[in-house]
Amino acid sequence: MAETVDARGLSCPQPVLDTMKTLSTTSETEVKVLVDTEASKENVSRAVQGKGWKVKEIREMGEEYHLILDKG
């Protein structure tokens, strides 16, 4: 069961902030992040790399991006 961070409509740095918060408190090994700008997609992808999480997949859903993050 994956946890979801809904960062749609949020402006920088909120998507990264919310994602980081969830990654540090979650006990799940998979987290889904929803964003709706390319910049947020780039920012979140970049931010999680150094924190022990991997971007497993990025699904482009219309104007949204759904990032699937994997721990470790």
Binding site: L10, C12, V16, M20, D36, T37, E38, A39, E42
Partner: protein
Amino acid sequence: MKNFFATRWGVIAVGAIIGILAAALQKLGNPGNMGICVACFERDIAGAVGMHRASVVQYMRPEIIGFVLGSLAAALVAKDFRPRAGSSPITRFVLGAFAMIGALVFLGCPWRAILRLAGGDLNAIFGILGLIAGVWIGTLFLKKGYDLGPAPKTYSSAGFILPGIMLFFLLLMLIYPQIPGVPKNGVLFYSVKGPGAMHAPVLISIIAGLVVGIIAQRSRFCTMGAFRDLILFRQTHLFGGVITLLLFAFLSNLVFGQFHVGFEGQPVAHTQAVWNFAGMVLAGLAFALAGGCPGRQLFMAGEGDGDAAVFVLGMIVGAAFSHNFGLASSPKGVGPHGIAAVFIGLAVCLTIGFTMRKRAK
């Protein structure tokens, strides 16, 4: 389609290009250590339309227009044009006004702070330290849940409004061009002396502005974000661009003979270290609370961000207030009410930071 400009090397390249272009614009006529200054230039635009009557700083700066239109063009081509608006606009307007007030106490936006340093103006060190301090205060609020709220998608035409205003300004400038020696031509004011009279040829300014608008939009270039991400996330991605901006502006200045190191006698600068620092603390805090440095706000406005557009207009109005009420500094030092304005601005920004939080702490 991969976005090269948004990669680490892309941002680094963009910083270098901006640094070179800024030095070149200065060589071609823009004021000293002011090849590009978003705050000064928006203030000049406020003067051009008569919102203030400081006759030495009135000029419709095409660079600013190019930033917005270039960003718009890049966003449209890359399908990155996302009209959105509604994230506490009145707050952003006020943040823009105080960001400008703070910047005019220092006499520069973050880009100019870097360019001043690259030109040998050591007074800029205090400004940059102030900027970092202000951004740091902003990160404290961000960590405590400061959040102006989401910006819902809005109509496409709303996203075109600020670009439309900028295009209108450009048309005004082309229809009512400067007549040498004449301070007002039909509709627009044009300084006949002072920094407002120092400008590169219009065509070069507009092309340079468009180029910067395109590459800055694609790379998400943001000087405030550079320091913020370093402090908040220990990320150096945007900071790489700031470093190369400084380095390549410096190297270009050496080539162009524009490097003169020292504190005294620097162009459009004063030596009051405390207020250079404090003005930029205010500006840095306001930029952090608004989510972008003034350049970035212009590029976001070009992408269709209506809240960034409101911040830009707040900056222009703030510039008008600054020169109408003696808030802006001059090379002699702070203006008659500049110090009071800094304290008022800090109080307002701190109030915004403390009260606009989602999570009660």
